[in-house]
């Protein structure tokens, strides 16, 4: 009796120990911070992991690829109106676009061939960094960064290795969509969602779940820009009809709603407004379905190998150098703590910010990952650890609700560092309203300007809001207005003969598309992360709002 009991208890303890021992390393950062890690390994592991998870086929190089669809029409070549010089500098920015990275023979890459400009994670060949996004990528820095895709593709055996654990915890993996089946652009024209008078598009956003944004604000302004455009006569005589879905802050749900919008609603393209995991999951589904997908820049892991994904602002990794410049030259701080949500998709942002900070001589005194659904105890402890670390600046990349809790708990401990981070949603007005005074003078990069600057940048926004929605305009409207306006530039440039083929041909033609709300973007057959600037927002707790402290800024502006 006694021995059976002992065996039973021993088995339970053994199971507990095994489950603990089998855990994956939550972050590469601790080791990177001590300089003890080979920076190349995690990128290759991540690529292998994603390739394995999503079973993405190796592509054929620089062609624009599309699936073969049964809906056929004449695939006539589409004249593409000239829009802007591809190398035009962003408005307000002193940093011109970087030289393009060299062509890569394979598409199975984590970053470089898809990158726009020269972001901090640039796995590009050691090209001169002159002015490239102002990121100051010196040759010696490039040498230490993840190898270019071209180099990786030279050893296919390494790509064939089984997926290894990612350098971070895996709370909720995006579900694996079916393997994509692609044909080159010369196929028959695909006009799904397009009629003589309308273009139907799909938008998803985490209204519910861990990102508590006001549902009504998003629903109100989901098609504001398109209504305004209809007043102006539409785009080549067509009006845009928006289908909106809540992805519930869940990658699984995101794929479901995107599938619904693609297969039932027959949308022409998809837009993801926020939520890195959801955007990644949905973009990968869209790739498999042959549907173009747009979002503000988020992570690069999991997106860099997609043909049909286009970031309309800088990715988190691309923003690293600008943030480092801000910390070093404007805030004049040296001791940094880094707190990133444990989503595996954010590993690349973590790696690149760490690299950029250390390369600039800044000292990372603490780095940690917090759960996507962090508990009170976790955030209290994290705040206490940040205080004990003595960091002057805390780089945060997490959902707004957790950021606010962390800042509130830190303030309760009389710890008020400068909070900085890449954007999208932490720069929303609701964060300042709920987080002040705890967030102090937090500074976040953002793809869109705040209400104090929108009139200068786009005088149409406020009148359109008043005409179609009424009341006081909000920044959620600007977020959606900006993406829509950027995409409109592409539709406009495509012309009247709209198909997915002609649309993608225009999109990847190397032209620069200017919205003057979101950063200028430029894509070609390799670049999918096509922005080189961001807006800088600074919290103003006297009015519980964000001020636009810099418009279209880059590293060189600091």
């Amino acid at each position: 009796m006694l021995s059976r009991q002992l065996i039973r208890r021993g088995a339970v303890l053994l199971a507990v120990l095994v489950s603990a021992a089998c855990g994956q390393k939550p972050s590469a950062l601790d080791e990177e911070a001590s300089g003890a890690r080979d920076r190349r390994a995690p990128v290759e592991r991540d690529v292998a992991e994603y390739d394995s998870e999503f079973d993405v086929e190796a592509g054929q190089g620089p062609e624009v690829l599309l699936p073969e669809t049964p809906e056929t029409a004449t695939g006539a070549a589409v004249p593409v109106p000239a829009v802007e010089d591809a190398r035009a500098a962003a408005p307000g920015s002193s940093a011109p676009l970087a030289p393009l990275p060299a062509p890569a023979p394979a598409r199975r890459s984590a970053s470089s061939p898809r990158r726009g400009g020269a972001g901090p994670a640039e796995a590009a060949p050691p090209a001169p960094a002159a002015g490239g996004c102002g990121n100051g990528s010196a040759g010696s820095e490039v040498a230490e960064r993840p190898p270019p895709a071209a180099a990786r593709s030279e050893s296919p055996s390494s790509q064939q290795q089984p997926a290894q654990p990612a350098a971070g915890p895996v709370p909720e993996e995006p579900p694996a969509p079916p393997a994509p089946s692609r044909k080159v652009i010369e196929g028959p024209a695909d006009r799904t969602g397009v009629t003589k008078s309308t273009i139907k598009i799909g938008v998803h956003f985490p209204v519910t779940g861990a990102a508590p944004f006001p549902q009504s604000a998003f629903e109100r302004s989901k098609d504001l820009y398109w209504k305004h455009l209809a007043d102006e006569g539409g785009v080549w005589g067509r009006n845009v009809e928006v289908v909106f879905r809540d992805d519930e802050f869940s990658p699984t749900r995101a794929v479901q709603v995107c599938r619904e919008m693609v297969e039932e609603e027959k949308v022409f393209f998809l837009i993801g407004a926020a939520g890195s995991d959801q955007i990644t999951a949905c973009a990968r589904y869209a790739e498999s379905a042959g549907v173009p997908y747009f979002s503000a820049g988020v992570n690069e892991d999991g997106l860099s190998d997609l043909n049909l994904y286009f970031a309309v602002s800088q990715t988190y990794s691309q923003q690293s150098d600008t943030l480092v410049g801000l910390i070093k030259n404007r805030l004049k701080k040296q001791r940094i703590a880094v707190v990133v949500a444990s989503n595996p998709a954010l590993n690349d942002a973590l790696r690149n910010f760490t690299f950029a900070a250390e390369s600039a001589g800044l000292r990372i005194v603490r780095s940690s990952r917090v759960s996507k659904t962090a508990s009170d105890a976790e955030l209290l402890s994290e705040a206490n650890q940040l205080k004990n670390s003595g960091a002057d600046v805390v780089y945060v990349l997490m959902a707004p609700v957790n950021f606010i809790k962390l800042a509130t708990n830190s303030q309760a401990q009389a710890y008020t560092p400068a909070w900085v981070g890449p954007g999208t949603t932490n720069g929303l007005e609701i964060v300042a309203q709920a987080g002040c005074p705890s967030i102090g003078t937090a500074r976040f990069l953002s793809p869109f300007p705040q209400l104090d600057a929108i009139d200068d940048l786009d005088p149409d926004y406020r009148p359109a809001y008043g005409r179609h929605i009424g009341g006081s305009p909000d920044d959620v409207g600007i977020l959606q207005w900006g993406i829509a306006k950027t995409v409109h530039q592409v539709l406009e440039a495509t012309g009247a003969d709209l198909s997915r083929q002609s649309f993608l041909a225009t999109l990847t033609s190397g032209k620069t598309f200017k919205s003057n709300v979101y950063p200028d973007v430029r894509y070609d057959n390799k670049i999918r992360f096509g922005a080189s600037t961001m807006h800088l927002l600074e919290a103003d707790c006297s009015s519980r709002s964000w001020k636009t402290a810099g418009r279209f800024v880059a590293r060189a502006d600091f």
Binding site: V16, P171, P212, S375, D376, A377, L380, A412
Partner: protein
């Protein structure tokens, strides 16, 4: 039972001494654990109350709290002073508890306990749906009842007045309810009904009346948990207490012993300390989701070694509910 309780207390004291001896980090971990765990304990208290009286895991306990928070927020937003708005919240929770008892629990009074368990889960989901329907799915922000942050500092960790209020409320309620069940006729009647309903009814105890009382009390406890912990969470949204506190509270209740009210307090603190340690100590840095691993490892060990929980008599086990 006494030997087990003494062993549990000795273990808790030993862990506390170890953490204090470890240095300032350990001491702060202990304080954070107690502070954060009190919130779990408050929700666990309501769970234990219902379980103790009816042998049911009440999945709707979190929603009693969320409804109270919504009512508090609505009343305060309408200009009602905070204290009276809190009362409005408690009244809303009470109404919800009474409605649950009348329309869900009472019709299923003689059904198997597992049926009632599923019914409470249904109540929780219904409540979340109604909250979304009436209040829109978005975050709202609630100011604390007590705003001062720096009155008390323990081992260098500042404990806000709101958190002190949670700890004090939890400690007082745990003792009062324990006394209620051991020293009052009503409490003993509820216990008797729980252990043998037929015998209790033959003794003249009204099962329905006691059921109403129990669910009303549990709803008020849930409401109290909600209105005290929502300001600490910075914001709330439909289902917030169910999503954020129900699982840790269940863990706390099981750790403490599902039939022990002081055990809910102890269990909450243990869960809080475990989470805090998992975040703080470098030894856990390489374990993804260390917080959850720590808490659930602890739960498995306690269930294997002492399935009745830390402070409950051996005759009561969680298996009774099913």
């Amino acid at each position: 039972m006494r030997r087990g309780v003494l062993a549990s207390v000795a273990l808790a004291v030993a862990i506390a001494v170890l953490l204090i001896a470890e240095g300032s980090q350990g001491r702060q971990t202990l304080v954070i654990g107690v502070v954060a765990g009190s919130g779990y304990g408050l929700v666990a208290l309501g769970l234990v109350l219902v379980y103790k009286s009816s042998g049911v895991f009440n999945f709707a306990q979190g929603e009693f709290g969320t409804i109270a928070v919504f009512a508090l927020w609505a009343a305060h937003s309408a200009g009602v002073p905070y204290f009276f708005a809190m009362l409005a919240g408690l009244v809303a929770a009470l109404a919800c508890g009474l409605a649950t008892e009348r329309f869900v629990v009472r019709p299923l009074f003689h059904a198997p306990r597992v049926t009632l368990l599923v019914a409470t889960a249904g109540v929780a989901l219904l409540a979340i749906g109604v909250e979304i329907w009436l209040g829109e799915q978005r975050g709202r922000y609630l100011a604390p009842a007590l705003g001062r942050l720096d009155r008390v500092s323990v081992f260098g960790f500042r404990v806000s007045d709101q958190r002190l209020l949670v700890i004090a409320t939890l400690a007082v309620l745990a003792v009062l309810i324990a006394l209620f069940f051991s020293r009052t006729n009503l409490g003993l009647a509820i216990l008797g009904l729980s252990q043998n309903p037929m015998a209790a009814e033959l003794m003249g105890i009204s099962a329905q009346r006691l059921s109403t009382f129990t669910w009303a009390a549990a709803a008020v406890l849930g409401g109290l948990g909600g209105i005290l912990s929502a300001p600490l969470a910075t914001g709330f949204e439909p289902g917030f207490l169910t999503y954020s506190a129900l699982i840790p509270a269940f863990t706390a209740a099981v750790l403490g012993g599902m039939a022990s009210l002081p055990g809910a307090f102890v269990g909450g603190v243990v869960v809080g300390v475990a989470e805090s340690a998992a975040v703080t100590f470098p030894i856990f840095a390489d374990i993804p989701g260390a917080r959850s691993v720590m808490v659930f490892s602890l739960l498995v060990v306690v269930l294997a070694v002492r399935p009745q929980g830390l402070l409950a008599p051996r005759s009561v086990s969680v298996g009774k509910a099913l």
